[in-house]
């Protein structure tokens, strides 16, 4: 059964330096507040797994928390580059960033394999691309029935998976809806999981399109209103598209980035 914790306690007790941590949420419900808490607690040498690294990874990378990134699309959606991500790869600032790079379909299937208790998943993909050459977690596999050659991707099983959801009840059952992305697979592939939620309620009312994660599949739940801003939580608040555009300027310059983090993450609790 999931334990109800504070965000601070959840990150402190469930995460360790050197861990592999998945932070998921496909555009929607990105666990930004949890990312900030990881920065505040000063974790190091993390391997971060995330399809779309987004601002959350740009901040973690820029603050030196990440030694390796497993990802499939590292941009600021609709805006352009992730400057801290680029700076780490192109210039090694603040430290060298190792990468294991996939397509969305490939990293998705790595989560699916992890959630399924399998060491790999089978898919069509990668053939003829440079991705196949550089990733150690992609390999050919032959169909035992047809002889056709397909691609296997290795399961990912993070030490900790973190997602944000709309609601949980007091028993720790979690409910999310809208674009639910890869969140279920992220939680299920994790050896442990932490779910931040907009609110903890007495009873989860069914909602069209909802995904319910029963309490026994979740390690801990923390109530963090606004926990995915500037991303959004359907039914609670909208995506702050203006901030995504503003981030391009903030993050382009190291000092301005550091000042923003100092002001908005280290001093505050958000």
């Amino acid at each position: 059964m999931a334990e109800i914790v504070s965000l601070q306690e959840g990150i402190r007790t469930l995460l360790n330096n050197g861990d592999t941590v998945a932070l998921e949420g496909f555009t929607h419900l990105i666990p930004m507040a949890a990312g900030h808490e990881i920065i505040r607690q000063g974790f190091k040498n993390l391997t971060v797994v995330r399809l779309t690294p987004d601002l959350i990874c740009d901040q973690l990378i820029g603050m030196g928390c990440v030694s390796k990134l497993v990802f499939s699309w590292g941009g600021n959606p609709g805006v352009g580059s992730l400057h801290r991500f680029r700076d780490a790869i192109e210039n090694g600032w603040p430290s060298k960033l190792e990468i294991d790079e996939h397509s969305h379909a490939g990293l998705t299937n790595r989560f699916v394999a992890g959630a399924s208790g399998l060491p790999f998943a089978v898919m069509r993909g990668y053939k003829g691309t440079g991705l196949e050459k550089y990733s150690p977690t992609v390999a050919p596999i032959t169909c035992p029935f047809t002889g056709e050659e397909l691609v296997a991707v290795a399961a990912v099983n993070p030490d900790l998976s973190v997602i944000h959801a709309q609601r949980a009840d007091r028993k720790g059952n979690v409910q999310l809806w809208g674009i639910t992305g890869i969140q279920k697979e992220a939680v299920l592939s994790g050896k442990k999981s932490l779910v931040t939620v907009e609110e903890i309620v007495d009873e989860l009312k069914p909602h069209p399109g909802d995904v319910v994660l029963p309490s026994w599949l979740v390690t801990a739940v923390a109530e963090v209103p606004g926990g995915s801003k500037p991303s959004y939580a359907a039914g609670y608040y909208q995506r702050d598209n203006d901030f995504y555009i503003a981030w391009d300027e903030i993050s382009r310059d190291k000092d301005r980035f550091l000042a923003w983090i100092e002001q908005n993450v280290l001093k505050g609790d958000g």
């Binding site: 555009t27 699309w73 397509s103 998705t108 440079g130 550089y134 809208g178 555009i245």
Partner: protein
């Protein structure tokens, strides 16, 4: 005398792309030019176009152009919202999508795309966002439409990294690689249209937009020795209706 309408080369490019879409088709689209072109087509001649964004929104009908592939309005207006594994495994991979729309940083003469790095992979000059959904869109869709502004920096003889396969090194490669979609049928640029030669699959300039010189495209805007079709067409300029529609498209967050 016919009224002379003013328009930008980007508007021409989006309108040319929108014209490629047929009503009733199912399209897999990314943000930016593809999303603009598809939303434009839906407001013009293709009201029953089904737009799929890789966030899992099937049949989204946004009133403003989304900033991200996961904007809330896409989910709110969709016929269905499915998980990301379903989008890739159940819908894209089996070849159910009619048209995949792709952009990129660079393209080569066999319509292979690079959206990963400029320079060496391990020590890149410019690190780009990477693959996203593109490799499997390029592999699996029945048809692929590529949109890319044309220059010697983007249309290059040799791309440093193949993110998405067009035709590999020629006509036989897609079959050899087991790619079951049809491959790119058209590349739409701000200057004109390129199509793969039916036999060699090398891209050929088949159309230029109004007031674009063929020689300029070949000599100053393409990084390889671009073949030109024997009978080259000139794109029909945007109509008043098309320009009104494109200018009425509002963007989220801008």
């Amino acid at each position: 005398m016919v009224e002379q309408l003013q328009y930008t080369s980007d508007e021409m490019m989006s309108i040319a792309a929108a014209r490629q879409l047929k009503d009733g088709q199912v399209c897999f689209i990314g943000i930016g030019l593809p999303s603009k072109a598809a939303n434009l087509a839906r407001r013009l001649h293709a009201p029953n176009l089904t737009m799929i964004y890789e966030s899992g929104t099937l049949g989204a009908k946004p009133t403003v152009l989304p900033l991200s592939i996961g904007d809330g309005e896409l989910a709110e207006t969709a016929d269905a919202v499915v998980s990301v594994p379903e989008i890739f495994n159940y819908l894209l991979q089996p070849g159910r999508i009619d048209v995949g729309f792709l952009g990129a940083a660079q393209i080569d003469k066999f319509a292979n795309l690079n959206s990963t790095v400029i320079g060496d992979y391990k020590t890149p000059k410019v690190r780009l966002p990477g693959a996203g959904g593109a490799p499997e869109i390029a592999g699996a869709c029945k048809d692929v439409i590529i949109m890319l502004r044309q220059s010697t920096k983007s249309f290059v003889d040799q791309i440093p990294f193949i993110t998405s396969v067009g035709y590999g090194s020629g006509a036989q490669d897609r079959a050899k690689l087991g790619l079951r979609g049809g491959g790119p049928s058209i590349v739409i640029t701000d200057l004109g249209i390129l199509e793969p030669d039916p036999f060699t699959k090398e891209l050929v300039l088949t159309q230029v937009h109004p007031n674009v010189e063929i020689a300029t495209v070949v000599k100053n805007k393409t990084g390889w020795d671009l073949r030109v079709a024997e009978e080259i067409k000139v794109t029909e300029p945007p109509s008043k209706e098309e320009l009104e529609a494109i200018r009425s498209l509002k963007s989220a967050g801008k």
